[in-house]
């Protein structure tokens, strides 16, 4: 009963948070977020209990003799419950300070709690109807949050988000209806039991529709277009939740349908997912590198990380269909571990970006600079987030990427030649992604935090309030802890892995993370300790051997020219120029240079330079599609003449056709 008690207590806190926002909207920040933070703690406990195993029945509300709202939890839901609650805890604490200066505090508090509740509802849904209602609630509430800042840009982003997410939902509805029609069950456990008898074609259809439906929410390429628009439009605490956990509900839905409910499919399913993962990760990070809007950049990184998660999940599916359950579990653990890690560090980075925007009033990195001096804590935590997302030891991103590498290398043990080749190529894509991400975060951190302030706003920036820092502190600590103690994290994941693959992966983790079949071993804790000891030894050696020397402070080297200005620094555009040139086949860069002369060709009055890249998926997939739909709609106008008699005629014809063919 313990998990249920904590669960209901937590939900009550969120509900009362939402109610408080309505009752005392002006004081909302004092109550709402404290209540949601307490609720989150309670749900972390409940999630940890749940992730340890045993399916529990939480709540069922009958609506008719055949329909009911059913909420239940198993290990997988428990894991996602924990992930969502961990981020919610930090974001709630952060929001206390962050929402101080926004308009509509009450509305924000209300939607915030509703948004979190809807995500919980999605991962705890036990049947099709509950899932769809929760899913739709989540989409609508998040749409309202995306358009919270009422400007044109947010409205457009919100519209795109609403359209894309509903296309995704349409596919999900169709796949659910197909499953219901063939199995006769509404609840997931019933469908799972009957799924073995499904025809192969139907399974394939369900699989493909689940990629499109859930992939749209998760932001895989090419269904990602809404993500870099919508996430930056929302207030930063919301972007943090959207990027950190909302897109993970897409991953959850995909695992639930394609791995749990359908069981093992043919091998090519896994290979398709590995390819999608590799493409999403590389293309996602390539576009991130070209972005100077700090929140848009982070949004593109979410696409990249979803790709990395899919590399793990795809390998798991590929092993599963070959009956290699131990390897399948290792790969699934890698994917889920990265799911948790991404929630932590991406949440942290979005909160950091929120603090930056709060302090500098801009999203453009080119107007920041030198902030590490005025915002030391935010700087340190943003640095930790950056190191984590670049998968550098000793932080958490490294452990999950290491596991993903192992999973991909183990792909060599698969029987078919395609998997043997695709898996290591996935590994190469992961290496490329890692290097690109490192370049990207050197750019982000170097341009916005280091050097000389590039604008008056950046010069006058102040450190964020205590609660905002506290929210980030929790996540930064978790980045380190999840990087040093992988055993603890894996023990939370492995019941889900056992439930889904029938094996715990035989990863032994008594201090070491060693992959079975003598493949490889890693001890993040030992690496951390050895780095720590080495670091201390180096400092001691330098002080002892070098003695005390004077340090003189002077200007940076200016080639003898007097006084460098902030405009002479490397910019983000300049930093990424080599990448833009090397990958020009992907970026299709365009540049315009217009010069106006006083006297041609020597005396230049002014020069104007602009450069941009062509987002080829938007340009070559979505634009033609939009034009096609518009044209078709224009042609369909002929049918919609506005004449009532004609419409009655349509109904008559439809009825007649139904009578002829329907019976």
């Amino acid at each position: 009963m313990i998990p249920e008690n904590y669960f209901f207590a937590g939900i009550l806190f969120f509900l009362s948070g939402a109610v408080m926002s309505c009752i005392v909207p002006r004081k909302a920040k004092n109550y709402t977020y404290v209540l949601s933070a307490i609720g989150a703690v309670s749900l972390i406990i409940s999630g940890l209990y749940l992730s340890a195993g045993a399916q529990i029945h939480i709540l069922s509300i009958p609506i008719s003799s055949t329909l009911e709202f059913l909420f239940q939890g198993d290990a997988l839901s428990g894991f996602f419950l924990t992930v969502i609650s961990i981020l919610t805890l930090s974001v709630s604490i952060y929001s206390i300070g962050y929402t101080k200066n926004i308009d509509n505090k009450g509305l924000m508090g209300f939607l915030y709690n509703l948004f979190i509740l809807s995500m919980y509802a999605v991962i705890l849904s036990g049947n099709i109807i509950t899932f769809l209602v929760s899913w739709e609630t989540m989409s609508v509430v998040s749409y309202l949050l995306v358009t919270f800042n009422r400007d044109e840009k947010s409205a457009n982003a919100g519209l795109l988000y609403a359209v894309m997410t509903h296309i995704g939902t349409a596919f999900i509805i169709v796949l659910f209806l197909a499953l219901y029609k063939y199995t006769g069950h509404m609840d997931f456990s019933g469908i799972r039991a009957a799924s073995a008898g499904l025809p192969e074609d139907l399974k394939t259809l369900v699989f493909i529709f689940s990629i499109i439906g859930f992939g749209t929410k998760a932001g895989i390429i090419p269904f990602h277009t809404w993500l870099p628009m919508a996430h930056p439009a929302a207030p930063s605490n919301i972007s943090s939740l959207m990027s950190g956990v909302m897109i993970k509900t897409g991953i959850y839905g995909f695992i639930r349908i394609s791995m749990d409910v359908l069981g093992h499919g043919p091998e090519w399913w896994g290979i398709v997912i590995i390819v999608i993962g590799a493409v999403s990760s590389v293309i996602g990070v390539l576009y991130a590198l070209m972005e100077h809007d700090i929140k848009k950049l982070l949004a593109y990184h979410s696409i990249e990380n979803i790709g990395i998660i899919l590399l793990g999940i795809g390998s798991s599916m590929m092993f599963g269909s070959n009956g290699m359950y131990t390897l399948s579990a290792i790969a699934l653990i890698a994917g889920l571990y990265h799911t948790l890690n991404h929630a932590i560090f991406k949440g942290l980075l979005f909160l950091g970006a929120g603090s930056l925007m709060h302090a500098t009033h801009t999203k453009n990195m080119e107007d920041m600079g030198g902030l590490i001096k005025s915002m030391p804590y935010t700087g340190l935590f943003f640095l930790i987030g950056s190191i984590s997302i670049c998968a550098l030891p000793p932080f958490n991103g490294f452990v999950s990427e290491w596991l993903t590498y192992q999973a991909l290398l183990l792909g060599f043990n698969a029987p078919s030649i395609t998997s043997k080749i695709i898996s290591p190529l996935g590994g190469a894509a992961l290496a490329l992604t890692g290097a690109l991400a490192a370049a990207c975060f050197v750019k982000v951190f170097g341009i916005s935090f280091l050097g000389v302030p590039r604008s008056p706003h950046a010069r006058d920036a102040k450190e964020s309030s205590a609660s905002m820092i506290a929210g980030m502190t929790i996540l930064a600590l978790l980045c380190l802890l999840a990087g040093i103690f992988p055993g603890t994290v894996i023990s939370i994941i492995s019941p889900s892995a056992i439930a889904l693959t029938g094996s715990n992966g035989n990863i032994s983790y008594n201090g070491f993370l060693s992959i079975s079949r003598t493949f490889s071993s890693l001890s993040p804790a030992a690496i951390f300790i050895s780095m720590l000891c080495t670091g201390i030894a180096v400092v001691v050696f330098i002080v002892a051997a070098g003695g005390k020397r004077k340090t003189v402070y002077g200007d940076s080297w200016d080639c003898g020219m007097p006084s460098l200005t902030s405009r002479m620094q490397y910019t983000a555009t300049a930093f990424t120029k080599p990448v833009r040139v090397i990958f020009k086949k992907i970026y299709l860069p365009k540049r315009e240079l217009s010069i106006s002369y006083i006297l041609k060709p020597l005396f230049v009055k002014s020069m104007k330079y602009s450069g941009e890249i062509t987002p080829f998926i938007e340009r070559y997939l979505y634009e033609p599609l939009t034009i096609f739909i518009r044209n078709t709609a224009a042609k369909a106008k002929i049918l919609q003449s506005g004449n009532l008699n004609l419409y009655l005629g349509y109904i008559l014809i439809t009825l007649m056709l139904l009578l002829i063919f329907g019976i």
């Binding site: 030891p393 190529l425 590994g427 070098g546 340090t551 402070y553 940076s556 990448v579």
Partner: protein, 306 residues
């Protein structure tokens, strides 16, 4: 003894650089500085006062220590003269590459920290080269790792089973290109120049002086010897001792010195016979090496894992 084998890399890495320089000078018909010159340079730098830019933050000051830490921590994971490396199981070759990447990450940040164009230029180019090198380096190691059934370096060295097969030679040539790029040698970068237009590694270090510069230089020497050692361990480990008995260790040290000398001579020859490439020609060289690594892997798989 086996605990301390990483000290070999730390202590003798300046000597290795001295030998490469000497041999390069010999090939080019110069006398060149003595092989101990790098030690003198380091000692001189350690004794000097420092000039630090007023713009620099704590990142600039922490970076030399972090870079040094990263290369030493990475060296611990590598067997040098005996495979009975106690640190071998705490991290594998992937961990090693990512630990080195941590050092590079901070070095690039330090380049941007002083707010000059040179530093930014160096950082930008360094990260670009890393983008091209890292996947290629990983892929060439994958072939060895898959054939050994492990990514741990000791294990790869123990079970090196693809000796001098075509895939082995292809992977080795790709890896050598990666090593050249990572150590900042011609044709990727020129270690002997401070010319603004061409420098990569030196650009990031431009603002450093005194003991910070000494640390950065030393770390660079260690990284170079470390990468040579990995090449030896992964691609021609024959002769390395499997135990810790004195006779075996002596033999193993001799073999190691010979191999290292061979690596140094090859590097000097490559450097002397090539001109530095234009920066934007690098993708063709590094991309070519990537294709070699890919071919190596495909060939390994097609030939049924041999």
């Amino acid at each position: 003894m086996e605990y301390l084998q990483f000290l070999i890399i730390i202590l003798f890495s300046p000597l290795l650089n001295g030998i490469i320089k000497k041999f390069k000078a010999y090939v080019q018909g110069r006398t060149g500085p003595g092989i101990l010159q790098p030690y003198y340079d380091l000692i001189r730098l350690f004794r000097k006062d420092m000039v630090v830019s007023v713009v620099a933050s704590w990142i600039f000051k922490a970076t030399p220590y972090i870079v040094m830490t990263s290369v030493i921590a990475a060296s611990m994971l590598v067997p040098v003269i005996t495979l009975k490396s106690p640190f071998g199981i705490i991290g594998d070759v992937i961990a090693l590459i990512y630990i080195l990447a941590l050092g590079r990450f901070f070095m690039a940040l330090a380049g941007l920290d002083t707010g000059t164009a040179f530093g930014g230029e160096g950082s930008s180019r360094e990260m670009t080269v890393a983008i091209l090198v890292e996947p290629m380096m990983m892929l060439s190691i994958f072939t060895a790792a898959i054939s050994a059934g492990s990514t741990n370096i000791t294990r790869i060295a123990e079970t090196q089973s693809m000796f001098y097969s075509p895939s082995h030679i292809l992977a080795l040539s790709a890896f050598i290109v990666a090593v050249i790029a990572e150590t900042g040698r011609i044709p990727v970068d020129n270690p002997d120049t401070h010319l603004e237009l061409t420098m990569i590694h030196e650009g990031m270090l431009l603002e450093y002086s005194g003991r910070y510069l000494a640390l950065m230089e030393w770390a660079h020497y260690i990284k170079q010897m470390l990468l040579f050692t990995i090449t030896i361990d992964i691609f021609f480990p024959a002769g390395i001792s499997h135990s810790t008995e004195i006779y075996g260790l002596a033999l193993s040290s001799g073999v190691y010195i010979l191999k290292m000398f061979f690596m140094a001579v090859s590097m000097a020859l490559i450097e002397s016979s090539r001109a530095k490439m234009r920066f934007f020609q690098l993708p063709s060289l590094l991309g070519g090496a990537f294709v070699l690594a890919l071919l190596s892997l495909l060939m390994f798989i097609m030939m049924g894992g041999k």
